[in-house]
């Protein structure tokens, strides 16, 4: 199946219930190889449950998960890196020792883990923390260690749940740069967040999850196109705009208008009809933000 070759991860009709509570009903996502995939949705939508299923922490009640062309199995654990939202480290353990332990749990040998850790510690300039206890580190510092132990075994798929919460802007920028670098090298990345604006900047694919269902899925471009309402923002030099057979006015104040194209008309016709009356200072097609799209998708559902 060509679909399977292109997608690293496919989640098909996954259902998960906790007693009477339904966490996921028919969740469907396809994560293409090498993509940066945003998993969006408000708190409690079922994102964490979906990620736990992908990480084999919990098993789905029904449906299937396909990883790299085969049904998800135990040995895939070493090919997935997961940074959960509820994350932490043993406070009383030394940084280096702990990182070695976690790397070995992912299936790396001691020597391999040591070598890779040294590389990452040097890269992020934190080699001096090696013998410190975690409780001596600040929250942001601990998050860096957390990031390293997530990516240390060079998995094919990296899953970050709210990755930037807890980071100060400087460290968040460093981590973002590292994640993008990994993506460039071909690692597939899934981001889960309820902060829509952060996703737009990095992701190329997204899925919207709300109330345990997948509402939307696709490339950001496609989704935006799908939700573009053909509205324009026009700033004129003077004079009032009048609705005509080309456009309607959605809102207007001073010389700043939001106008909507009528069916079958083109942007060129708008320009021509406005220029008859007044001069245009700026003219811009309005594209919806992810937040707009999300609210719309939820309301339509």
């Amino acid at each position: 199946m060509p679909q399977n070759m292109k997608d690293l991860l496919i989640v098909k009709d996954v259902v998960k219930q906790y007693g009477d509570y339904t966490a996921l009903t028919n969740a469907n996502i396809s994560v293409p190889k090498g993509s940066i995939y945003g998993l969006l949705g408000p708190n409690g939508a079922g994102k964490t449950t979906l990620m736990r299923i992908i990480n084999q922490i919990t098993a789905p009640d029904s449906g299937e998960v396909i990883f790299d062309g085969e049904p998800l199995q135990k040995h895939h654990i070493s090919e997935i890196g997961y940074m959960p939202e509820e994350r932490g480290l043993y406070k009383k353990m030394k940084v280096g020792e702990q990182a070695l332990y976690l790397a070995q749990l992912k299936g790396m040998s001691y020597n391999e883990a040591l070598e890779k850790l040294k590389f990452w510690f040097e890269k992020l300039d934190i080699l001096s923390w090696w013998n410190k206890k975690v409780e001596e580190l600040s929250k942001g510092m601990a998050q860096k260690i957390q990031f390293i132990v997530t990516v240390i075994h060079e998995p094919k798929l990296l899953i970050f749940d709210e990755p930037f919460s807890g980071f100060d802007p400087i460290n968040a920028a460093i981590i973002r740069k590292e994640i993008l670098e990994l993506a460039e090298k071909g690692t597939t990345i899934i981001f889960s967040t309820h902060r829509m604006e952060s996703v737009e900047e990095i992701c190329d694919h997204i899925a919207l999850i709300n109330k345990s269902k997948t509402l939307l899925e696709g490339t950001i471009e496609d989704i935006k196109k799908q939700f573009t309402a053909n509205t324009f923002e026009v700033v004129t030099s003077s004079g009032k705009l009048q609705e005509n057979d080309v456009f309607t006015i959605v809102s207007g104040k001073d010389n700043n208008y939001h106008i909507k194209l009528k069916e079958g008309k083109s942007a060129k016709e708008i320009l021509e009809s406005i220029l008859k009356d007044t001069e245009i200072i700026s003219f811009k097609k309005e594209t919806p933000t992810m937040e707009d799209i999300f609210i719309k998708a939820v309301n339509n559902a």
Binding site: I57, G88, L89, L102, Q104
Partner: protein, 416 residues
Amino acid sequence: MHKIWLIIKREYLVRVRKKSFILMTILGPILMAALFIVPTYLATQTQENRIIALNEDANYILEDSEFIHFTTIPTSEAELLKTDFSGSPYYALLYIYGENFTLYSNQQISLSVSKSIERQLEQLIEHEKLKLLGIDLQILEDASTEINITTKIISEDGNTSNSQAEASMGIGFLSGILIYMFIFMYGTMVMRGVIEEKTSRIVEVIISSVKPFQLMMGKILGVALVGLTQFVLWILLTIIISTVAELAFLDANVMATEMNSADQSVILAQVAEFTGGINLLQIFLAFIFYFLAGYLMYSALFAAVGSAVDAEADTQQFVLPITIPLILSFVLITPIMENPDGTLAFWMSMIPFTSPVIMMVRLPFGVANWELALSIGILIASFIATTWLAGRIYRTGILMYGKKATYKEIWKWLKY
């Protein structure tokens, strides 16, 4: 399997390297050794010779004992001592006037000295009175009797052996207490470890690499090794410290010569006779089994409790029902020792929650093989069952944050 080994190693090393572990390991035997040494030391202290002055007109002749010597002094001197004792060469003055007996001294008189004098005077006066009543002391002495009952146990193959209730009680009590202590100390250690992983939020990071059950078992086994290490070190250090200390004391008191090899072999023979009717090998093997199986069963339950709560303060309501059977078996040690073959003893050694302690108490008194086998079988079955059950609670509990766990909630987790 490789991963569970990694977990065991971490759990073990982290705890063994803790300052509190090292401190407890060193202090434990010192305290225990002190229990042996202090009495020995105190015993050497009382061996100082004491001279007691006795007023001349008292008309009593007191016999010197090993450490107490009597010397008679003129009454006038005694009268002087009664008001001013300082500078006198005596330990105390025993002043007798008629039937009034008073000890004068410028220091606190040791209880053993006054008791010893009291006893001697009582006997003297008693004999005096008997003589006055015309009773011959020789007859009295002849009439006094002392009996020692020897109890023998006839085993199924017809052999008889000496029964030693005291030794049985000692061994049963000690092993029962040790198992009780071990389960309590290390069971709660497992629980605290689980809570630590939950509150530090590392648990989800780890179970994305290993199964929750592996993490739980790794912790339980790692802590078991910590406990075994501590006990072995305690026993070794206690033996070393008390041997060294005893040798030092014996040397100082020139008693080393008394304690020659002949004496030691006599003591060994006595020990062998003392424990003669008891199957020591069976007890040792049973101890290891009940020790481990009891711990495994209870610590799985403690782990489940740890997984269900967010902080140690919330554990109370769940820990109580777990500890009740454990405390009950501890409380019942004495009544069971008095009647080791009773109905209570039988059932308590079958119920898996009490059998680790109670069976060890009963065992030195002799328990039928089928009873032992049944008890072991039940315990094995129930530790597998409780571990399975605890595993199911654990895997859901560790991922639950901010939800106040109730019994109803935990019941639901079992079915997820």
